[in-house]
């Protein structure tokens, strides 16, 4: 069937073997070995279609290797390794198995050459990942997990429906570039859009990521959404609508991120914003912008993991990730703080950090291609990202007012995971060539020009200036214990309320209706009883005399009529 061993199977075998090992360092070591083996396999596979097989008359392909799938496969392996190192202390078998199956499904999906196998892995990521939310084992996490699962499974079901229609139209299930038009392609697009957290389809992300365990959130942040970015880059490059969808995605989450209190949710909003940049890159669809999307996804997975790791370490030590409860932790968690700042500098695209050499590919191309308004929005979003992720996260967790908390520094394995990730963020920023070599197309881009460095520094430092001025003048909104209504309010409050009211209305109308009918029926029955009942007129026995009288009257009337 296949001349190469599919990398996802390594994860599946790992997940099967894992529960039989003693639950200590040995099991944690196996968890680290699996992504390393997977990565080495991906690294050594030559380009081409390697996993062809025919299933029920339909040609399927589990192993399509090209530069686009390889770069995503490699960064997924790297993310799995770093997250599992961060989770070295976790002894919960459910989380261990779920992590392996989740990462394995995501890697399987990027190598899927047809929509059928893509669907299998697509649902695999949904089912495996929900256990990382349920692993928190609280009532709130259970409900959040259910909401997450319903939306993720729905995305898969829509993908399946789209694939079936696509097969009927074209006679092929091959997962190649598609053009929006038929219902099938629209459904596939929608399925990708749900997982990619398109505007109004995005709330599962901000709802679920802060609800997972400390390590679960780090793992969740890497795979699902970037798999969707990969799927869009593969299936719909150059679809102009994506430019506008992406620009909207970069824009609105930053407003929420400013007022959100839970720092893990702030990061979820900024994740949504970063996906927007990638989606714009896919929409523009040139070689430069698609390179930008792939490069930015690579860098993003690393710095976003790093930020989630650092906030996770704070949560691990203090029991909260809320801005209103934290502050002043730089005294006792200085290394975590430094790693957080490196992640923040990377997401903000400071020169010498990873975001600088990847995001600019997309921004430059938006300007080159004449999308000036979109370029303006992306520039605003870049400044906004620095504002809420670059400054807000480290500031409210580690500086700001002294919360009085004196937590111990994060455990060693977490520091190692954060340290390696931070190193990679800086390494990519300083020396981007190895990353550029992995990109799908030839790169002729020089990120470090005088104009680019100076203009970027101006943008960032003046954003910092705005933050400082607003903070010092007391205009900056304080962190408050609260929730902010987002679009999920519609399906968590509005629709249930409408449904409740509709149900009440219908039952009231039904009750009134049946009451009215009963009353009417009773009146009719009573009337009939009066006329036909034992006492009724119709039931009366008439005297013979009156009968004779009436006959005489009728006869006389007949005689008179006949006479005339």
């Amino acid at each position: 069937m296949t001349e190469y061993f599919p990398p996802f199977l390594v994860y599946v075998i790992g997940a099967i073997v894992l529960p039989f090992l003693p639950n200590d360092g040995r099991r944690a070591s196996l968890l680290l070995v699996v992504p390393l083996i997977g990565a080495s396999m991906i690294w050594s596979m030559p380009e081409g279609m390697h996993g062809l097989m025919v299933l029920a008359g339909v040609e399927m392909n589990f192993l399509r290797v090209d530069k686009l799938s390889t770069i995503f496969g490699l960064v997924f392996s790297l993310a799995a390794f770093l997250s599992l190192l961060y989770a070295w202390h976790v002894r919960d078998t459910i989380q261990q198995v779920a992590t392996l199956l989740y990462a394995g499904s995501a890697i399987g999906a990027v190598f899927a050459g047809d929509l059928g196998s893509l669907f299998i892995f697509w649902e695999g990521t949904a089912i495996a990942s929900v256990f990382l939310i349920w692993a928190r084992r609280t009532e709130g996490a259970y409900h959040t997990g259910m909401r997450y699962l319903i939306i993720q499974i729905a995305s898969g079901v829509i993908l399946l429906a789209g694939a079936v229609l696509f097969y009927r139209d074209t006679g092929s299930l091959a997962f190649e570039k598609m053009t929006l038009g038929s219902l099938g392609t629209w459904l596939i697009f929608l399925a990708f859009g749900i997982k990619c957290a398109f505007p109004l389809l995005h709330n599962w992300l901000q709802d679920s990521y802060p609800a997972a365990t400390v390590t679960g959130t780090v793992i969740l942040s890497s795979f699902t959404t970037k798999l969707a970015v990969y799927a869009l880059a593969r299936g719909f490059p150059g679809t102009e609508m994506l430019i506008y969808i992406g620009a909207t995605m970069t824009l609105f989450p930053i407003f929420y991120a400013v007022i959100e209190n839970d720092l893990r949710r702030v990061l979820a909003y900024s994740l949504n914003n970063q996906l927007g940049f990638m989606v714009v890159g896919i929409g523009i669809g040139t070689e430069l912008s698609l390179n930008g999307t792939a490069a930015h996804a690579f860098a993003h997975i690393l710095y976003k993991s790093l930020l989630f790791m650092s906030v996770g370490a704070v949560l691990f030590r203090t029991g909260t990730a809320k801005g209103s409860e934290l502050g002043g932790l730089y005294r006792t968690m200085p290394l975590t703080m430094i790693f957080c700042v490196i992640g923040a500098a990377s997401i903000s695209a400071f020169p010498l950090f990873s975001g600088f050499v990847t995001k600019s590919l997309i921004l430059s191309d938006a300007a080159h291609e004449g999308y000036y308004i979109v370029w303006g929005i992306l520039l605003f979003a870049s400044a906004g990202v620095f504002h809420h992720s670059g400054i807000k996260i480290p500031y409210f967790a580690f500086f700001a007012h002294d919360s009085g908390l004196r937590p111990k520094e994060a455990p060693k394995h977490m520091l190692w995971a954060m340290g390696i990730t931070a190193f990679l963020c800086v390494a990519i920023g300083v020396y981007p060539e190895p990353l550029y070599a992995l990109l799908p197309y030839e790169v002729e881009y020089v990120p470090y020009t005088t104009t680019h460095v100076i203009t970027q520094l101006q943008l960032l430092f003046f954003s910092a200036l705005a933050f400082t001025v607003l903070m010092r003048t007391g205009i900056y909104p304080p962190e408050l214990k609260s929730v902010n209504l987002d679009f999920d309010w519609t399906y968590r409050k509005l629709f249930p309320a409408i449904l409740r009211h509709a149900a009440n209305f219908v039952s009231t109308v039904m009750a009134a209706g049946s009451h009215f009918i009963r009353r009417k029926r009773e009146t009719v029955i009573r009337g009939l009883y009066q006329s036909h009942g034992p006492e009724g007129r119709m039931a009366k026995v008439w005297p013979t005399g009156s009968m004779v009288l009436w006959i005489a009257i009728i006869l006389s009337a007949t005689l008179i009529v006949n006479f005339f």
Partner: protein, 115 residues
């Protein structure tokens, strides 16, 4: 884990003790003045090199600086305004939400430097 009366910095990690100079408001002010100075230098830098641009507006001196400042200030002020309509109590979605739940002790190692 409230701040203990005997909160002694000797339990802090060495790096953390070095960073304690940030506790002094004077030093924080120094950083802020440094930022003001850096911003001034960056703004003026625009007049001393040939900008390579693609969009006409980029040629406006200090465009990136002004755009960064104005848009960020606008962002914060708008977001602050959004709170009026969007902010609700932490228990708004409870119990079907984790927001008002305590984080489970089983998933953390709550330790302080004094332990």
């Amino acid at each position: 884990m409230a701040r203990k009366a005997e909160d002694s910095t000797k339990d802090y990690p060495a790096l953390g003790r070095k960073l304690l100079w940030l506790d002094n408001m004077k030093n924080v002010n120094r950083i802020v003045y440094g930022l003001y100075g850096l911003c001034a230098v960056l703004f003026l830098a625009d007049f001393f090199y040939k900008k390579k641009t693609y969009v006409a507006i980029e040629n406006f001196p200090g465009f990136y600086a002004l755009y960064g400042f104005v848009m960020c200030a606008a962002l914060v002020i708008c977001a602050r305004g959004m709170r009026i309509f969007l902010m609700r109590d932490e228990k708004y979605y409870a119990p079907k939400d984790v927001e008002s739940e305590p984080f489970p002790e089983s998933d953390m190692e709550r330790e302080t430097v004094h332990d």
